[in-house]
């Protein structure tokens, strides 16, 4: 029987299917005691509608692998950060044409106010140029922004730092 951790770590994100939940940093813990499996996951965004699907996919994968007693727990704290995306996950994003996030801003205390255009160094996942610009802070899913490359003229998506 494949270990519960291996099964859970192989489940992919419903909206970013090139990433496993482990790559994304959503999978926090997999505990196995006497045949009972407890999986802990943390939401990326509070409104992320894919959470229910992730729970279902995890339960389905574990049940299919032969685990009959499965519980999926939601962990709200510490809050998910894009820093938790693994190096493997970042490479998988880049390979799929999605720019991975840079370091997340520091948390705690008042959030500093930025005026005007925020400069973020984002490389084009297609040609590697850093001559890029933001089209929209918000994209097709809660975690992605829309950018474009001025060098190769391609638009691309970018996982926001959070």
């Amino acid at each position: 029987m494949v270990s519960a951790l291996t099964v859970a770590a192989g489940v992919t994100d419903p909206e970013l299917p090139m990433l496993t939940l482990a790559d994304l940093g959503v999978l926090r813990a997999v505990e196995e005691h006497d045949g009972r499996v407890v999986v802990s996951i943390t939401p990326t965004y509070t409104g992320c509608p894919a959470m229910d699907t992730m729970r279902d996919d995890l339960a389905h994968a574990l049940l299919t692998a032969g685990y009959s007693d499965v519980e999926i727990r939601t962990v709200l704290t510490p809050a998910w950060s894009s820093d938790w995306i693994t190096d493997h996950g970042r490479q998988a994003l880049a390979d799929a044409g999605i720019a991975p996030p840079g370091p997340a801003p520091a948390t705690g205390g008042p959030v500093p106010l930025t005026l005007g255009v925020t400069r973020r160094a984002v490389s084009c996942p297609l040609c590697g140029s850093t001559d890029t610009g933001e089209i929209s802070r918000f994209g097709a899913t809660a975690c992605r922004a829309l950018w474009r490359c001025r060098s190769c003229a391609e638009p691309f998506e970018y996982v926001k730092e959070i």
């Binding site: 992919t12 419903p14 909206e15 970013l16 299917p17 090139m18 802990s40 939401p43 965004y45 509070t46 409104g47 992320c48 509608p49 894919a50 959470m51 229910d52 699907t53 729970r55 519980e71 999926i72 727990r73 939601t74 962990v75 709200l76 704290t77 510490p78 809050a79 998910w80 799929a96 044409g97 999605i98 801003p105 948390t107 705690g108 205390g109 008042p110 959030v111 106010l113 930025t114 005026l115 005007g116 255009v117 925020t118 089209i135 929209s136 802070r137 918000f138 994209g139 097709a140 809660a142 829309l146 998506e157 926001k160 959070i162």
Partner: protein, 270 residues
């Protein structure tokens, strides 16, 4: 799995369930420890959840009406974040008050006087300058407020706040960008942005009551200064407000739309 782009993956095998995320209405706090510490009441979660629910509804109304596609996507995303916060906060409120009510009971089966949202959230209409003014005030206020909840006695509320702060920072940044772009833009855009602020300001005092507003005022001063706009001097609307269950005349129409399906078809799932 290998795809040329992520959308191919989503549409793979013509799997319709991909388009139905979040429609199961499972308890959003599923699997979270529901213990309520002594002394914690539901008031705060209910009020903050109602603010998010009603503001989200107003933002959703802009879908198909925004001036550009990118802004439509942005407003929909912000509305989705707030709806997510509302789901968690209302579910938590139902856990704390011990009534056994879930998020749907609280969102769809309460009457106007039982809602505790600030009246700013229920304002509608106007042009894009009005919308941006409301979103700027709402997100700057909510971000400052949630920053004070990170050590709350209720660990679930503290965790929701820690998560929401990150989202609200993006909301405020979006609104600030437009306040500056419009205020420091053309004569027309400047005038309309100032109109939006002037119309919004009567509802600002209600947000704070006796609580500290230093961080909010600092943000407002700096943004409006950069945008060449002036802080409105319009008088505040006084008397009992949304936190007392007293709403503006718009609220009844809003709830009629928000609740019509759930009330016409009790127990409906989709």
């Amino acid at each position: 799995m290998s795809f040329d782009n992520v959308y191919e993956a989503i549409t793979e095998e013509n799997d319709d369930t991909r388009w139905a995320f979040g429609t199961g209405f499972e308890d959003p706090l599923s699997g979270v420890d529901a213990t309520v510490p002594p002394g914690v009441t539901a008031d705060q979660c209910l009020a903050l959840g109602d603010d998010a629910l009603i503001m989200s509804h107003r933002l959703q109304e802009w879908v198909t009406r925004a001036p550009e596609l990118e802004d439509e996507v942005a407003l929909a995303n912000i509305g989705l974040d707030l709806l997510g916060q509302a789901r968690l906060l209302l579910t938590r409120a139902g856990q704390i008050d011990g009534s056994g009510r879930g998020e749907d009971d609280l969102a769809f089966r309460r009457d106007e006087r039982e809602f505790r949202n600030v009246r700013l959230a229920e304002i509608d209409g106007g042009h894009f300058g009005h919308l941006i003014a409301r979103l700027f005030v709402f997100s700057a206020w909510r971000l400052a407020l949630f920053g004070t909840l990170l050590e709350d006695d209720d660990p679930v509320l503290a965790a929701i706040a820690a998560k929401a702060v990150k989202e609200l920072a993006y909301h405020r940044e979006y609104a600030v960008g437009w306040v500056i772009r419009l205020g420091d833009g053309t004569e027309l855009s400047h005038r309309r942005m100032q109109e939006g602020l002037d119309a919004t300001w009567p509802w600002v005092a209600e947000l704070f009551g006796e609580t500290d507003r230093a961080e909010f005022d600092d943000v407002v001063t700096r943004v409006l200064d950069a945008a060449t706009l002036t802080v409105p001097q319009t008088a505040s609307v006084g008397g009992p407000g949304g936190r007392d269950g007293v709403h503006s005349e718009r609220m009844g129409f809003l709830l009629a739309e928000l609740q019509s399906l759930a009330r016409a078809h009790p127990g409906a799932t989709w």
